[in-house]
């Protein structure tokens, strides 16, 4: 199951990255069930997310991908281990986007995008200027005065991306942000994300259930095992952008990751 050099290489365990933006050391998380039994959700997970790169996390359903991302975001605390950022960052410097409910339904698109700027307390003129610029880059200028429920799924995700950009954060944690959309929209959003990340030098940790998405976006793909969640494998993806979904290298990497994921699921069963 080796991959040809230049198209992707397989790395066992944690690699020492040149410039990690954040590192996760031996994280463990337990949950209490209704009948007071402890269930280990995440067991001894470690990896780095390199600065300016996209790290994709794939794993079987229920493997604790979202839990892991919440721990990185600081929304939950791990029972053991730690998440460390390699720069001291002020509050509000980690952007977080989920599949749904990231937009406030009572705010218009422009207010949703401008929310992080409002929280920082900048002037309304400054905010409007920034919001216009971001909306232009995302192609949603015409939708600024609408409410989220008046938008298509794709436009809603664009708005959520706009909020991430407005937060000015250098690190985006994304939890299946493009799920439940049609293929064409997903591909548009993926290309948009790649453009935004490379233009603005963002570090991204991207959780997805789609191997295709992970291979298309990720500079590094982390395969998790389920119950409890462990790092099963790490793949470095060296395919050059723009990535061609029809190229043999792309297909080979997808097959490799898919095989690894299948064995992870079989091992558990």
């Amino acid at each position: 199951m080796s991959v040809q050099p230049g198209t992707g290489s397989r790395v066992k365990g944690r690699t020492v990255a040149a410039a990690p933006f954040l590192s996760i050391f031996n994280i463990r998380k337990d949950f209490l069930t209704r009948d007071n039994q402890t269930v280990r959700a995440i067991d001894d997970v470690s990896f780095d997310a390199e600065a300016g790169k996209i790290t994709c996390i794939v794993g079987p359903t229920g493997s604790g991908k979202s839990t892991l991302l919440r721990l990185i975001a600081g929304l939950d605390d791990p029972d053991a281990g730690k998440v460390s950022l390699h720069e001291a960052l002020p509050a509000g410097s980690i952007g977080y986007m989920t599949q749904e409910h990231s937009l406030f339904p009572w705010l218009r698109v422009k207010a949703n995008i401008g929310l992080p700027i409002d929280v920082k307390g900048e002037s309304p003129e400054e905010r409007d200027r920034t919001v216009r610029k971001i909306a232009g880059a995302l192609g949603i200028t015409d939708a600024l005065d609408r409410y989220p429920y008046e938008l298509s799924g794709g436009m809603q995700r664009r708005t959520a991306l706009g909020r991430l950009m407005a937060s000015g954060s250098g690190c985006w944690l994304m939890d299946e942000p493009f799920s439940a959309l049609d293929d064409r929209t997903v591909h548009q959003l993926q290309r948009l994300l790649l453009k935004l990340v490379s233009e603005n030098g963002k570090t991204v940790v991207f959780v997805t259930h789609s191997i295709d998405e992970a291979v298309f976006l990720g500079d590094r793909i982390i395969v998790l095992s389920a119950g409890p969640c462990r790092v099963a494998d790490i793949f470095d993806n060296g395919l050059a952008h723009p990535r061609d979904r029809l190229s043999p290298e792309f297909g080979r990497l997808i097959e490799t990751v898919r095989c690894r994921l299948e064995t992870v699921i079989e091992e558990k069963a």
């Binding site: 990231s102 406030f104 409410y147």
Partner: protein, 290 residues
Amino acid sequence: MNDREKAGKAWADSLPGKFLLGSILPALLLFIWWLAVRSGTAVVPTFMEVLDVLAHPFQVPPDLYSRSLAFSVMMTMLRLAIGFGLGVLTAVPLGLLAAGSRVADRILYPLIQVARPINPIVLLPIATVAFGLSSIASVVVGGEDAWRHDVWDQVQLAMIFILWWGAFFPVFLGTISGARSVRTAYIETMRLLGASRMMVLRKVVIPNALPSIASGMRIGLGVTWLVLIAAEIFPGTRSGIGYMLCTACKTSDYQYTFAAMLVIGIVGLMSDILLLRFERSAGHWQSRER
């Protein structure tokens, strides 16, 4: 649905359809009224007599103690605005507090649950004894000079108290349920942006609670409106629509009683429509949210 049913529904939704269908029962009521007048009872004034009262709102009824229809309406609205306004102004902050703090909830909950089912009218006798004839004027300028400020002297504290009681609970409970229904994801979004608790309250909790605060206000206004008219009929008042209705009944000027009843219905309806609009605009995003 077949074509005939569809056509019927479309006609019922059209303007002439709405008007005609909506007029059936009022027309029936007018007919019964007309029958009652024809039967020769002295209690029922003719339609024209009532219309005459409504057409001359500044005319003072023959009875010595009464005031004009316009003045009565104004007094009633003033009491309503003050009592209901105080109810909303206290219920919303306390509701937000109870929703946001377990300790505050534990302190407020038992008393509020016992107090809530008590009909405000039940409290009127004891409130009258407790507050006496104190009014806004007597509190502000002192009892001696209160009579100089006639209007404010007739906004009695006892009445404000029971109106506050009627408005408080629906708004309080609406605020609590609205504030508690906030999605955790919204609060987490704010936390990650580095927002303070005040900011979360202003940007998430209050907008999220607004639709149910508005429905609480609608219920509360309905309650206070009923309570107010009943309270104005009670002895100790010297003005208001309820007072006019009652005194006119005593002096057999039934056209004033009927006019007052109509005004109560119309003002009640209009205020409800106003709050319904507020409720809809505050919650426009709710019904259409995925």
